[in-house]
């Protein structure tokens, strides 16, 4: 394989559940740049049942657009030979529903939650958490394990040297369920044991002959510390060895790639962690897809990922309605609409998930639903991205069972530096201001926050690339992947509607600009991509920009395709209850941000 700095070109694919996306990266002078992208339907399902068909189709589109030969028949030409072929080929995958796992731990809010974080961080969808204290009867747990048919189970429980009984009980439940894997009838279900090291023998005795058992370090060796990495790495290994190897066509694909195939969300998590680490910032990344919404966060170097398995814009759009409720979706629609009409539109999108809005009304409805899907997914993220529960308190072990409330969320919007959105509804919004508005309305950032979107969702491919070719990945991430939208300025607190809320003065390259924005309004101050400005922000006496109520702050703000978005709607945010007033407000904000054509 080529050395990191020598590579001239990279071809990367991401096999999603519906679309396989290919990108071609080439070295131009000293830097790496995206050349073209292509896509084709994923072919994991019948009638093709071979993922490589879709991969080849996507690569053929890249060949056509780049005017370069990359394939020799059905073989990717590597290394690059003249203008033919590429030096590196790599891929990520979430096809066939991604990696679906069950996790188990002794106490649901302690080792159970640690196991969940380990699995999510490795890019899995967690189907269920089985815990000794989850309130279900043993036979109910067994039925659950049997019916859900996960790709893999992560069994944890107990701190090293602690109780072995509960772990043995969990192992007995799994053994009694005798679970079968989802893909490939003829192989044993992989089970990772990452719990109390004293119980390894007991677990091996119970599960060694019934499952493909792998033992690794405890994810919670002591109450005060999580050690998720060894379990995550094992999940990746088993994902390749067992799950991928049994998915249609993946054996062939695995032989083609220069680096191991990564689950798509794990790759996205990896690139977000690198950015946070490199720039020493707190980052939230969101990927809203057709079936799921993934949220990644890095706060004070702690990485968390959650996946909301049934919040998405197509396959699970109807579930957004079921979970958010009709009123919450309707509150973002800036015109009157019958309930029955909205319901039928949402269901029609669910049954024909690949359709797109053709007129403005449909677009606004779709973006209203997106706001709620994002908001709900973020709520779930905040509740899982928490400090370790059950620590720093002197209690007996029996007391720690009741410490559910001790872990506080790590997400502090006031200290968030960068919010990155990706996924069709954000990345392909016809106007970038629409993406900015959806992000601001759903996440309600506080203080100063830089906003960006992933232009064509290439974070997964860049995540894998970064594992060996960091420069190539970073170059493309900066230059071609991120589209900087601008900076949001949002004071916290409330004031009287229409009263002066915040004064913003920017020293821009083109001169000084000052705006005063009343409470309840929004405004945009142009500041182009690549430009920065020194800002003096003076909130009204009841509002806080981070330094205390009424205290001015000075900061450098970055521009973007939208500019500086001043959100003087206050936090907590509320929309008027009266329909006519609410619609008037939505229309005011629409105008202020230039969201839609008139």
């Amino acid at each position: 394989m080529a050395e990191p700095n020598d590579i001239r070109s990279v071809l990367a694919t991401d096999c999603g559940s519906t679309t396989t996306k290919a990108i071609l990266i080439e070295k131009v002078g000293d830097e790496y740049r995206l050349v073209v992208r292509g896509e084709a339907p994923t072919t994991v399902e019948a009638p093709f049942e071979d993922v490589t068909r879709g991969v080849l189709n996507a690569i053929m589109e890249v060949e056509e657009l780049a005017g370069r030969r990359l394939l020799d028949g059905e073989r990717i030409i590597t290394p690059q030979n003249g203008t033919d072929g590429v030096d590196v080929y790599l891929s990520t995958s979430s096809a066939g529903g991604g990696l679906q796992m069950m996790v188990s731990g002794v106490v649901k809010t302690m080792t159970g939650e640690s196991a969940e974080r380990a699995a999510l961080g490795a890019g899995a969808i967690v189907m269920d958490i089985i815990a000794s204290n989850d309130g279900r009867l043993p036979h109910e747990k067994i039925r659950c394990i049997r019916e859900l048919r996960p790709d893999m189970i992560l069994l944890s429980g107990g701190i090293d040297g602690g109780t072995t009984t509960h772990v043995a009980e969990l192992a007995e439940l799994i053994a009694a369920a005798d679970p079968k894997a989802r893909l490939g009838a003829g192989y044993e279900l992989p089970v990772i044991y990452a719990g109390n090291k004293d119980a390894r023998g007991i677990v091996e005795e119970r599960l060694g002959s019934k499952t493909a058992l792998v033992v690794t370090d405890n994810i919670r060796p002591v109450l005060e510390r999580e050690n998720l990495m060894p379990a995550r790495l094992k999940i990746h290994d088993l994902f390749m060895e067992h799950v991928m190897a049994h998915a249609p066509g993946y054996k062939k694909l695995m032989a083609w790639t220069s680096l191991p195939i990564m689950p798509t969300p794990a790759a996205v998590g990896s690139i977000i962690q690198r950015v946070a680490e490199r720039d020493r910032i707190n980052v939230i990344g969101v990927d809203i897809g057709g079936a799921t919404t993934d949220i990644f966060s890095v706060f004070d170097e702690v990485f968390n990922r959650t996946v909301s398995a049934n919040l998405g814009m197509s396959y699970s759009v109807s579930n957004v309605l079921a979970e958010a409720g009709l009123d919450n979706i309707m509150r973002w629609v800036p015109f009157d609409m019958e309930e029955a009409d909205l319901r039928n539109r949402i269901k029609n999108k669910m049954i024909r998930p690949t359709t797109i809005p053709q007129n403005l009304e449909e677009l606004q409805v779709e973006q209203a639903i997106a706001r709620e899907a994002l908001r709900l997914a973020f709520e779930q993220h905040k509740s899982l991205a928490v400090g370790l529960k059950g620590v720093q308190q002197e209690r007996t072990i029996s007391d720690t069972f009741d410490q559910a409330a001790s872990g506080e969320t790590l997400i502090d919007l006031g200290r968030l530096h960068l919010l990155v959105g990706s996924g069709g509804v954000l990345s392909h919004a016809p106007r970038r201001a629409q993406a900015a508005a959806m992000l601001v309305d759903a996440f309600l950032p506080e203080g100063l926050t830089h906003l960006a979107v992933d232009s064509i969702f290439m974070m997964p491919q860049l995540g894998v690339l970064a594992s060996k070719y960091e420069k190539a990945a970073t170059d493309v991430f900066e230059k071609d992947c991120l589209i900087h939208l601008g900076t949001a300025i949002a004071p916290v607190g409330a004031a009287k509607e229409g009263a002066p809320a915040v004064k913003v003065a920017l020293e821009t390259p083109k001169g000084r600009v000052a705006r005063e924005v009343p409470f309840g309004a929004m405004a945009v101050i142009p500041l182009a991509v690549g430009e920065t400005a020194r800002a003096v922000i003076e909130p009204a006496k009841s509002l806080d920009m981070g330094d205390g109520k009424g205290k001015s702050i000075e900061a450098t703000v970055k521009g973007g395709v939208v500019g500086v978005v001043v959100d003087a709607r206050g936090r907590p945010f509320a929309l008027p209850g009266d329909a006519a007033k609410r619609i008037a407000k939505l229309n005011d904000w629409k105008e202020a941000l230039g969201l839609y054509p008139r």
Binding site: G96, R343, I351, T355, Q358
Partner: protein, 376 residues
Amino acid sequence: MAHAYTPGLRVTALARIERARRLPLKGTVLVEKGKMLRAEDVVARTQLPGNVQTVKAASLLGIHQEDLREYMLKKEGDAVAKDEVIATSKSFFGLFKSECRSPIAGTVEGVSTVTGQVILREPPIPVEVNAYVDGRVADVLPGEGVVMVTAGAFIQGIFGIGGETSGVLHAIVDGPDEAVGASHIKGDLAGKVLIGGSYVTHEVLRRAVEAGARAIVVGGFSDSDLKAFLGYDLGVAITGQEEKGITLVVTEGFGKMRMAEKTFRLLRDRVGARASVNGATQIRAGVMRPEIIVPDPAIAPESVAAGAEEFAQGLRVGSPVRAIRDPWFGRIGVVTDLPPELRPLETEASVRVLTVRFDGDAEVTMPRANVEMIEE
């Protein structure tokens, strides 16, 4: 970018249809290859292992878990009756006796001296698989089931609820744009597959259930009616397990929708024939649509090509398509152009488009994503 790939729903007068009929676990296949069967004939049978229950025997008896085996009256593999004593302990010179009883009838699966639990398994649950369609056994999958083959009309719907069923086709409306009202639910409908028109409400659907109808096919259904009929808001489109007394197949979409002329004609021309219907829908990777199969016993399946070649070739000028999103939802037309370049929509999004001529109308331009191919 030679052509667009827009899978559509199959609606065809004649297709060869194969359906694998598999048991959830290995079992016994009851029929031989080549045998002609009716939909309700059982083809394979097995027994699913019973549910597992655990009993915390050691703590009930007040003994150490390591000693549990000494107190067991039953060992692994033994049969037990409900409330039968499976372990007992005596203490204080035999004055106090503790007993552990089985909460179920079944067998002892395991005794754990680590957790002090006894694991009990309920008796096996018998499971049968039927032929689902009238046809011939094309192949036997040893220990698993069979592949049935038949030839006849095949109609895929867009959404359905309720599982597999079969019955005689019976038309209750006169045309594809006629909504099914309470007055249409009359006469002997027991065991019938009803051909509706554009729409049915949940109240009328309930009447059809009361009348004993097995299934109903309609053009459109409203989400509010779906919620009222199911009793909950359907979040994710995975259906087929509902037990509401009827299988519903929606051919066009949500709302009042005239059933496609061709679909209606195909069904009405076969009134009196036996049909197999499945409402199971899964809209995610591995999409599954509801279906209506009307076997024609006069046609040998081998004489019919496998079908779906048209779809495999993708959209072309002249392809018949149906609009599947507003503002032309449900209209049927013919592709007149497939411009390769991206074109802007009213939303300002630039997408790949096509032009379509709807029946008797001028051409319109719309996103390729918003049409689906239909078979002529």
